[in-house]
Each structure stands twice: as C-alpha cells, then as structure tokens.
Symmetry: C2
Subunit: 223 residues, 2 copies
DNA sequence: ACCTGAACACCGTTCAAGT
DNA sequence: ACCTGAACACCGTTCAAGT
C-alpha cells in the first residue's frame, strides 16, 4: 500500500511497530505486514531472520528510546527517573510489553540492556551487593512490565487501548460474595490514572529500597 | 491415548493443565489436547466454548488452589502470606501466568477473584482508601505475575523450566560496555533462588506499604 | 541482491453427518 | 447428547524460480 522505493530492515521494523501500536500484537502477521509495505510476505525474510527476530527488534527499538537520567542526581532519584522513563516509553507500546512478558521477544543488544544497566548502576551506588541488586532489578522489571501487561486485562484501566478492562468485572462481581472487590470496582472510574498508579507503586518499592540501602542518596551514613 | 470412559469439562481442564505444565503453552493445541484424551479435536467443543474458555478455566483452577491466610493475623502478615501463596501456586504453573499477563486468559469467577478479595480485605483493614488499595493491589499483582512471566525469559533463573535464561546474556553482554550488568550475570548462578528473590521483593513493597498505612497491623496508632 | 508463486505443515473453528 | 470427517480461512516458513 505504501509502495516504498526499496525495503530495508529499518523500514520493516518501523512498519511493524506502527502496526502493533495501531491494532495490537495479533494484527502482526508476516502477510499483513508485507501488505502494509506493498510487498509479498516472503520478501520480509530478506530483512529479518524470522518472526522472533522481528519481535526482538521491536522491543529493542522501545528500549533504545528510553531517556537516561542525569548522572549527577542521588541514586534513589536516578532509579526513580530511569524506571519512570522505562514505564513511560513502554506504555506507548503496550503490545511490545506483552511480547516481553510472554517470552516472544528477548532482546540482548547493548541498546536493549542500557536501561537495566543504568538501574544496576544506581543500585550498586546505593551499596547493594550483587544478590540484593539482582533482587531489586527483578522487582523493578516485574513492576514495570507486569503493570503494563496487566493494565490491558485485569484490574485497572489501560492508558490508551480501546477496551475497558473493568467492564468484565463490573458485570461479573457479586458484592455479597466479594464485597471488597466490588467496592474497588464501584469506585475505580473516577480517579483512575494508570501512570499515577504506577508512580505510586514505584514509590512504595523505592521506600522499601531506601530503608534497606547501605548508602543513602545524599552522601554518607554510618553503618 | 488415555481413552477414558466418557469426557467432561473437568477432565478436559485437568488434561490441559497437565499438558501446559509438562510442555509449555505452545504445546496446548486443540488437536494435541484431543489426542492426549484419545479423541478428535472437535469433541472438545462439546465441553469448552472455545480455546479462550479453556485458558480461563486453567487460570481459575490455579487461583482456586491458592491457600487462604489465617484471618486472625495482622493485616501485613495476612497480605504477605496471601501473596506468597499466590506466587507459590502460580510458580507451579508458569505457563498459566503467561496467559494472564499475555491477556489470553481473563477469569472473572468468584474462585478466581478470591485471592484478590483477600488482599483487598487486608488493605482496607490497614486503613487504605479505595484508590490506595487499588494502587497496592496493582503493585502486588504486577510483582507476582511480572516476576513469574519474566523468570522464564529475562534476568533470572526460572524455578523449574529447562531453559536457563541467563545463558543468552552470558554470551551477549560486553563487560566493557555494560559493566554492572556483566557483574550481575557473572555472580548470579551461585545464590540464585527465584522464590527467595520474590520474597525479598515482596518484603520491600510491604515495607513501603506499612510505612504508608493509616493503621498498623498490631492494634492502633494515632494519626 | 531482492522479490515472488506455489507449496508444506500447521492452527482454531464450523458444519453436516453420524451414533 | 456426544463424537467425527471434511472443509474453511488462516498461520510461519521453505524452496525453486524469476529479475
């Protein structure tokens, strides 16, 4: 349809990202993507190894667009900002988050690992050892990608997608049997802001990290 | 192959869970599952509406098996235990976790929502309002399912599956470019215990929650 | 080097037909 | 009521053939 001059890997990746953003991951088939590029499905294999390679490239694109925090800030602020930027960037591409948690994509390029590297840098500066840093990294990743992946299904409202996740529950929940859940569902629409919810959850976690850190963010503290 | 007397919904669900536990979600096709039950694929449609219905049933089974916490405990302990039990049960069925975060399953039965109800009950007893309770519930769910989903791909070792996730990174990471990540990868095998890592992450979050809660778990505290 | 048509081995699901 | 064979409309991917 767009009938470009000649195809290359970057154009394939860009078209794929646009397609999943607009219509979700299930719209991304090799035949459909080829059609979008005015070409036959088999042409794509000249530019990507296979569909897994294509999905890895999508995730890499998003990781690479994550803004880095000012290295002059205290570690806790650097951590909060880096993770916030990671969340913000992936919240623009919720379908890509799902390929990560669904194990369909697993990018290992330097660009894809840069945010994790920055998070670890902050954690090591906080004085955590390897084990504690790994545990904190896992927690932070789980929070980012778990929140994004669950936001289009479960107990919250998605940032952008069309389907309102809570509608299912509003019909299904019996207040007599699940009173607290019903209370939550009944009051959710008014003040629901996924980004704010995420920031709050991240703050809870960082509160726990600051309490556990050998070093504070503002200089030294006796052990 | 098992050629039972007659098929029913429970038998289909049990066989499906056994299949995904043994061979992962990609092994669960209608034709394959039917073969496992000594029947043709189309027979399954007499007992489940479609594949989505089947996946919902799987998730429901796992949710329903989550043990409930002693209601006499303080809220923070109840929260920790309920979430820990949720993690433990789903860690036995990592493929089912992925259907939840991947939006392929979305169970809304009372049995499926019971753990969320218990978590909310603890949070409301802690004095959180609806908004804070929703934010905490999101954080806790993201932690559980995000950790489990990422454990078979990303930065940690899975509890059971065959593939060792870190091997990819061990080959790919350049210590000169990603020094902190390389440090993590180099030291990960020795003391890596996914359940312990999860417990630690959960404790970080609960530390943050206790600090933010209007009520303590052990009686009253002035506002 | 890049693109294509035909084909292969799969999917989930429908439908008419059997018992 | 439950099961089945054939078929439909898809998938990702291979391969030989074109330019």
């Amino acid at each position: 349809m767009t009938r470009r001059e000649t195809l290359n890997r970057a154009k394939v990746a860009a078209a794929a990202l646009a397609l999943v953003d607009a219509e979700g991951i299930e719209a991304l088939t090799m035949r459909r993507l080829a059609g979008e590029l005015g070409v036959e499905a088999m042409s794509l294999y000249n530019h990507v190894k296979n569909k897994t390679d294509l999905l890895d490239t999508l995730a890499e694109q998003v990781f690479a667009s994550v803004e880095r925090a000012d290295p002059g800030l205290p570690w806790a602020d650097r951590l909060r900002i880096t993770v916030g930027n990671l969340y913000r960037e992936f919240s623009r591409h919720p379908a890509v988050s799902k390929t990560l948690v669904g194990d369909q994509a697993n990018p290992t390029s330097e660009a894809a690992l840069r945010p994790a590297e920055d998070i670890l840098e902050a954690l090591f500066q906080a004085g955590f050892d390897e084990k504690a840093a790994r545990q904190a990294l896992i927690a932070v990743h789980a929070l980012v990608f778990g929140t994004l992946a669950l936001s289009t299904s479960g107990y919250t409202t998605p940032p952008r997608p069309a389907v309102h996740g809570l509608d299912v529950f509003r019909r299904a929940v019996d207040p007599a049997r699940l009173p607290h859940f019903a209370r939550l569902v009944a009051t959710t629409d008014a003040d629901s802001d996924p980004t704010e919810d995420f920031d709050h959850a991240l703050n809870l976690l960082i509160t726990g990290l600051v309490a556990a850190a050998p070093n504070t963010g503002h200089g030294t503290r006796g052990l």
